[in-house]
């Protein structure tokens, strides 16, 4: 394990994010028919789902004061906010993709006796991939937004910090430069996901000449 991964695991991020990821993963698995939904009795399942939907509807930037209190000023707080912000668009779109898997293909997989693992990797995930990629593109936008807001408020480094500093000293050329940087970075991220999309969805005639 490298130093950076060790740092993430030992950090205070894990206890906060793990439950959310677990609940969402559970939902995805039971939707895909991968995990039987009835392992957990349905009332508690509903409680899990409700809490997840409640967390989802909190504007994550509203947590900034708390994040400063929990993590202090630095990288961890930013990471926490960004993970929280990008998680739900990807989660929702993945759910949608899994739910809209062609039932005839699933049935075919059953007739041919595919194992649950192969059912997931050969039918469910590729079928959900277009939706997952939509979620990814949307999440990238949120990622920049969150990073910049977090940097302006709860940070001592980064572009956002630089811009805020420049504002205080009335250096508008630096402010303009920061904004330009955001635009370029956003465009670069979008181009990268588009390339990913065209490569991963090359089987689909709709994406071939996008």
């Amino acid at each position: 394990m490298s130093d950076s991964t060790k740092w993430i695991w030992s950090s205070r991020l894990v206890p906060w994010l793990l439950p959310i990821v677990l609940i969402a993963g559970w939902q995805g698995a039971s939707l895909a028919g991968w995990l039987p939904g009835n392992v957990v009795p349905s009332p508690s399942n509903r409680i899990l789902d409700s809490s997840l939907q409640m967390i989802r509807n909190i504007p994550h930037l509203a947590l900034i004061p708390l994040v400063i209190r929990w993590f202090g000023i630095g990288e961890q707080g930013k990471l926490f906010l960004i993970i929280l912000g990008v998680f739900f668009p990807i989660y929702l779109n993945t759910m949608h993709g899994v739910r809209s898997t062609d039932p005839r293909l699933l049935e075919m997989g059953k007739v041919y006796g595919l194992s649950p693992w192969r059912l997931l990797t050969r039918i469910i995930l590729p079928g959900a991939l277009p939706s997952i990629l939509v979620g990814l593109r949307y999440a990238l936008g949120i990622m920049w937004l969150t990073l910049i807001v977090a940097e302006t408020i709860a940070s001592d480094s980064g572009i956002g910090f630089m811009v805020m500093n420049a504002r205080d000293f009335l250096q508008f050329d630096v402010v303009m430069f920061g904004i330009l940087l955001y635009a370029l970075l956003g465009k670069a991220a979008d181009t990268a996901t588009r390339g990913l999309e065209q490569w991963l969805l090359r089987w689909n005639p709709n994406y071939r000449h996008a």
């Binding site: 049935e107 075919m108 007739v111 041919y112 595919l114 089987w203 689909n204």
Partner: protein, 271 residues
Amino acid sequence: MASTLESELPARLNRQTLMQTLETRETSRPSGFAPFLGVHSISKRFGEREVLHHLDLTVQEGEMVAIVGKSGCGKSTLLRLLAGLERPTEGTISVDCDLVNGRNRSARLMFQESALLPWSTVLENVALAAPDRARRRESALEALRQVGLAHRANDWPAILSGGQRQRIALARALASEARLILFDEPLGALDALTRLEMQNLIEKLWQQRGFTAILVTHDVEEAVALADRVLLMQHGEFRHESLLSLSRPRDRAGAEFAALKTEILSRVLAV
């Protein structure tokens, strides 16, 4: 066509040797008469509605049975039960005297739409369920060759025609070494010419590979052209059974063929 003439001779020989091995196996078995597929008094109800009503059916290995009937008579439901996609409300299904519980491992279902994975190439689709992991590619290519589409192995299914897609679905069933192929109106969505081609292909492959086939169709001519036995289904029951002893390949213009077709068609339309 010269190629079909060439392939018929070994095909018949294969079928003959198959029948001989079947006979020897039959006699060596102490129980004597043992059908490949047995359906014992199955019923299927969806809520109040009874779709199948105490059906019995036995099919010998290597036989081609056609089931004809109007739409909504329960043909497709029967196939889904045979494939193990659904369970009968009453009764049992057995393969080689073993009760089928859950999925029917020896059966493959071919649907009206080909159900190919659009994100996998033709070859990957065919190789999907080949039993021998190490030889997946080879057995898939072999099956593709048999349906005459080996040159499309690396194409995406999206660019193929409907007939080609059905041929690939058939190759997929062959590559998975199915002993029983259930055809659920597989040619229903094809044009007349492609349908004729597919019928010849199915007959040829059936003779070569010796699988058992159950063909559900609403096309009486297709049933008479392909099957050893035609069952007429009405309101969830078999009402009539015709054994066809016409020689293969069947002469669709012959008087005998026409008479059989007319007889079965009039029975289908009678009720």
